[in-house]
Amino acid sequence: MVPLSWYIMLSAVMFSIGVFGFLARRNLIIIFMSIELMLNSVNISLVAFSHYLQSMRGQILVFFVIAVAAAEAAIGLAILIAYYKNNPTIKVDEITGLKG
């Protein structure tokens, strides 16, 4: 039996890797994958908590997160493609049309 704290640690580490990837990487697709990693780390901790607490709520939320992540992926990639059609780059440093 794997104790709860291991799952929580795993989830925290995955989340941190996701945050780091989001902040440090310069390729939009990898940033996108970092976000997915963050969402899935949350899913792990939700399922672990759900099992530990013997409550279904966490698992219900996981279902919704999976569905929303799919919608998010579709919309994100669509926006990316729309952008790419006008300026063919996926490097963050080159996206400087608006100052910021």
Binding site: F15, V42, L46, L61, L80, Y83, L98, G100
Partner: protein, 483 residues
């Protein structure tokens, strides 16, 4: 296992407005396929929103708060009032965008459907009694708004705005989820009222995990309502998105974010007020200061209004920090007033846009008063109101928020707010100076349409009426929140 969710037909009644909105959105999607004239689609969209508004109005009179779907959905006066803000927001946005979308050559029917879906998401957020529902409402709102921001597919600016909004929005919702997961782990529930109970019964008020959960949730909503230091997306997105969408999302998602902050912090984490207030105070100070100061340097009016919107979020936060129902009332009151003055200002910005001319530089407003005295006078009213100069509504909004803060002993915060309010007057009044005291570089023709004029008339009237008779609105807010 708590699988005892029971659903009955009675649960349907409180969500009738939401169902109406979704149906209207679906009808618009299908209508768009068969109808050529997008004005028809826009009109049907307004009708749908009005029908839903009527539904909310019918439910308004119910004295008891309605609870549906095993406590997952709450319909009380608080939620109803926020829904009123959202309806007005979407109706006025449709009003100002019909002509504008033609000028931008982006008359898509989906635009109106997405506006309705996004508004539905906000309504669900305002009524959420459970963190799961809250998350779903948030995503429905956010996903629709990402697309809206990138609606002008041919313009790099709009693409880029959508891209930035999407990435930072997705990032922030991941934070929200982590906060929800931690809260769920420590309290064993996602229900907002049950969280408050478990915090006390399990004695976990000072627990670091609980704190971390709150911090993550506040950070996530900090992104949504653009508090400094989570604001970096706002100016770019506001500038790049279509102006009507900027108007829509500078009020809607912000109000929804405040609705949720009010609900979660007051109802779920009410016992931890000391802790979350100490997080919010530095955020509020930074937001008021940064928003007002950076706005001084802007030359693009949409960017300037973006920073102004950030600064206003800082003022509104004071009501939440006060931590009383009076404070909450003042914040909600401010939001309603902000809706009118902001929408009006953006309506003027939209009027400046015409084919081959952006009209977004502040210099484009030079000497506007000579050719277009009426439009300039309206802009003057909105700018005065945003700056918080009596007798406009903006003054009333700020006044009550500051009073609420002082009442709870946060006098120094109120003083800081007044100082930065004075700083912000500088950049609002600069526009007025440009309009009235400079000579025009070139004559500007305004793009008008009947619906835009109606919105302008309504917003200007409301700004003035609420400035002179503030009790009308304030009594309604008090009635809604305090019962």
């Amino acid at each position: 296992m708590d699988t005892g969710f029971s659903i009955s037909l009675l649960d349907i009644r409180p969500i009738v407005p939401e169902i109406t909105m979704v149906c209207a959105g679906l009808i618009l999607l299908l209508l768009d396929l068969v109808v050529r004239k997008k004005e028809v689609v826009a009109f049907v969209g307004i009708v749908g929103a009005i029908v839903a508004l009527y539904g909310t109005f019918k439910l308004y009179g119910l004295s008891e708060p309605q609870i549906a779907f095993s406590n997952m959905f709450i319909l009380d006066g608080y939620a109803n009032f926020f829904k009123l803000i959202f309806y007005l927001n979407v109706i006025m946005t449709i009003g100002i965008s019909v002509k504008y979308m033609k000028v931008e050559k982006a008359s898509y029917g989906e635009y109106y459907a997405l506006l309705l879906f996004s508004t539905t998401g906000m309504m669900i957020m305002a009524s959420a009694g459970d963190l799961i529902v809250l998350y779903l409402g948030l995503e429905l709102m956010a996903l629709s708004t990402y697309i809206l921001a990138g609606l002008l597919r041919g313009q790099t600016r709009s693409n880029e705005a959508a891209l930035k909004y999407f990435f930072l929005g997705a990032f922030s919702s991941a934070f929200l989820l982590y906060g929800i997961a931690l809260t769920y782990g420590i309290t064993g529930t996602t229900n907002i009222s049950d969280i408050a109970v478990s915090l006390l019964t399990l004695d976990i008020v000072g627990n670091p995990v609980t704190m971390l959960g709150i911090i993550f949730i506040i950070v996530a909503f900090g992104f949504k309502i653009a508090l400094i230091p989570f604001h970096m997306w706002a100016p770019d997105v506001y500038e790049g998105a279509p102006t009507s969408v900027t108007a829509f999302m500078s009020v809607g998602p912000k109000a929804a974010g405040f609705a949720v902050l009010g609900r979660v912090l007051f109802d779920a984490f009410g016992v931890m007020q000391v802790q979350w207030v100490s997080i919010l105070i530095p955020l509020a100070v930074l937001t008021m200061a940064g928003g007002s100061i950076i706005a001084l340097a802007q030359t693009n009016i949409k960017r300037m209004l973006a920073y102004s919107s950030i600064a206003h979020a800082g003022y509104m936060l004071l009501g939440i920090i006060a931590g009383t129902s009076i404070g909450l009332t003042s914040t909600v009151n401010y939001l309603m007033i902000y809706l009118f003055m902001n929408m009006g200002a953006f309506a003027i910005v939209i009027m400046m846009r015409r084919e081959g001319f952006q009209g977004e530089n502040i210099e484009d407003y030079m000497g506007l008063a000579k050719d277009h005295p009426l439009a300039s006078a309206l802009m003057l009213v909105f700018m005065f109101s945003l700056a918080g100069i009596p007798p406009t509504a903006g003054f009333i909004g700020k006044f009550y928020v500051f009073m609420a803060a002082i009442h709870e002993g946060y006098t120094y915060l109120a003083i800081i707010a007044v100082v930065f309010s004075a700083v912000s007057a500088f950049f609002y009044l600069r526009i007025v100076v440009y309009m009235y005291m400079k000579d025009p570089k070139e004559s500007v023709t305004l793009t008008t349409s009947p619906s835009l004029s109606i919105v302008l008339a309504v917003t200007a009237m409301m700004v003035l009426i609420l400035g002179i008779f503030p009790s009308i609105l304030l009594n309604l807010v008090r009635y809604s929140i305090l019962g």
